[in-house]
């Protein structure tokens, strides 16, 4: 059996800056994962739907606009609604320290803020995948 880790990287909302998302996508590819990139300006519905169709093991959301407190939990809610709450969520972008506990509460296993080395994201995924 040739099981590969599948990660969907999504950019919800109106922010069009996807350098970070693409940087992470490449780093995960280089770590041997299959990365589905949805592109910018996606609705939470589109991201959740894509995650289920792609049978992603992980969904990573990137956002720099400040709307994470609304959009991130919405993706989590929709995945639960689609009986896909076993998909592991993580997030990244310009996210203030004080918002992180709330996002974790909403189901995000990890939040990576600017300056995080990509290897940290890779390690997080590998560790969560085997456990």
């Amino acid at each position: 059996m040739d099981r590969k880790i599948r990660v969907l990287i999504g950019k919800p909302g109106l922010d069009g800056h996807d350098r970070g998302a693409k940087y992470i996508a490449r780093a995960l590819r280089d770590a041997g994962m299959e990365v589905v990139y949805t592109g910018i300006r996606q609705t939470p519905e589109a991201i959740a739907n894509a995650a289920v169709q792609e049978d992603a093991d992980f969904v990573g959301l990137s956002l720099l606009s400040g709307a994470h407190n609304h959009l991130f939990p919405e993706v989590a809610r929709l995945l639960k609604e689609m009986h896909a709450e076993d998909i592991i969520l993580f997030g990244g972008g310009v996210i203030p320290e004080e918002d992180i506990p709330g996002l974790k509460e909403a189901g995000f296993r990890a939040i990576f803020t600017p300056g995080t080395p990509s290897s940290e994201v890779v390690d997080f995924i590998k560790k969560e995948f085997t456990s």
């Binding site: 599948r6 041997g32 299959e34 949805t38 049978d55």
Partner: protein, 319 residues
């Protein structure tokens, strides 16, 4: 994994349950041990959907074209499946699958199922699991099913043998590449799409394509040629009506069943045969690597190992 059995999964797939379809696709992609059982239960759908292959060089606008086709078929209430294959890195085994990017308009439409696949070392532009994946989408009542794959050489002749209709997408600026492609690829396309027709060089491209087509031997089908610009939508009307006519024609012909089953049976035999032979080698030597060690140290040769496998299989047959 969902805590359900293969039989239940098969039921859910046929009801079109998204998560079940997605899980079934992963099973065939990962070579899950029950994938054969699942596909067996869904074999009734093997001929039920039209498979439309789309191939062409990177950057030819294939995904944008697929987006246009999705719009066309959704307006006509067809449930459409898409399998988009991107190359897997031979060095890391990873892949960035970005075809969804151009199909965003359909991302939350339940009548469209898009699945991205890495080629995972399979040659010919397709993933080894593409055929089986298409069968699962067919069982979930998606029709037509679009198979999108990068292709620049002759290897993607494979997509023509798998799909009912094959579109070859070309763009201006490929220069002499068109010349290089003509021998193989010109003969596999049912429809040659000259995309980005608003760009300079489109006349030269069409001339080169027409010159190549003239070399197709008499009696063999000649592909239609259509100019379009998938991003502006120009020419898409002509393309979709040509394509719909080709699909209707292929459905009426219904002649490829025998060769389709032959292809499928041959590949099942190859897969099973290779797995069985591989396990015999592992049993005899411990592992493939140990077999290689034996060859390197001069104890045996690959041909002698082949003969040994043959002997073992024959003895098994007689017993």
């Amino acid at each position: 994994m969902l805590p359900i059995g293969t039989e239940k999964l098969s039921d859910l797939v046929q009801k079109g349950a998204t998560r079940a379809v997605a899980r079934a696709l992963s099973m065939v992609e990962n070579g899950h041990q029950e994938a054969g059982l699942l596909l067996d239960s869904l074999f009734g759908a093997f001929f039920s959907s039209m498979l439309v292959g789309i191939t062409g060089p990177p950057g030819a606008g294939k995904s944008t074209l697929v987006d246009g086709l999705l719009r066309h078929w959704r307006e006509r209430d067809r449930r459409v499946g898409v399998i988009a294959v991107d190359p897997t890195s031979p060095f890391t085994g990873g892949a960035v699958l970005g075809d969804r990017l151009r199909m965003q308009d359909h991302a939350s439409d339940p009548g469209v199922f898009i699945r991205s696949m890495g080629s995972r070392g399979h040659l010919g532009g397709l993933s080894g699991a593409t055929r089986d994946a298409a069968q699962i989408l067919a069982a979930a009542s998606f029709d037509p099913i679009i198979l999108e794959t990068v292709g620049v050489g002759q290897a993607e002749v494979e997509i023509a043998s798998l799909a009912d209709i094959t579109l070859l997408v070309l763009v201006p600026g490929l220069g002499d590449d068109v010349q290089a492609m003509k021998a193989g690829i010109m003969e596999i396309g049912d429809l040659i799409v000259l995309n980005k027709a608003d760009r300079p060089g489109i006349d030269q491209l069409e001339a080169a394509v027409r010159a190549s087509i003239e070399m197709i031997p008499e009696g063999r089908p000649v592909p239609a040629i259509v100019r379009c610009s998938a991003s502006t939508g120009e020419g898409m009307g002509e393309l979709t009506s040509l394509l719909d006519a080709l699909i209707a024609g292929a459905a009426a012909r219904d002649l490829d069943r025998r060769s389709r089953i032959r292809d499928l049976l041959q590949s099942v035999i190859r897969e099973k045969g290779a797995a069985l032979a591989g396990s015999l080698v592992a049993r005899e030597f411990g592992s493939m690597d140990e077999a290689i060690d034996s060859v390197l140290s001069g104890l045996t040769t690959p041909y002698r190992i082949g003969g040994m496998i043959e002997g073992m299989l024959e003895r098994n047959n007689e017993g």
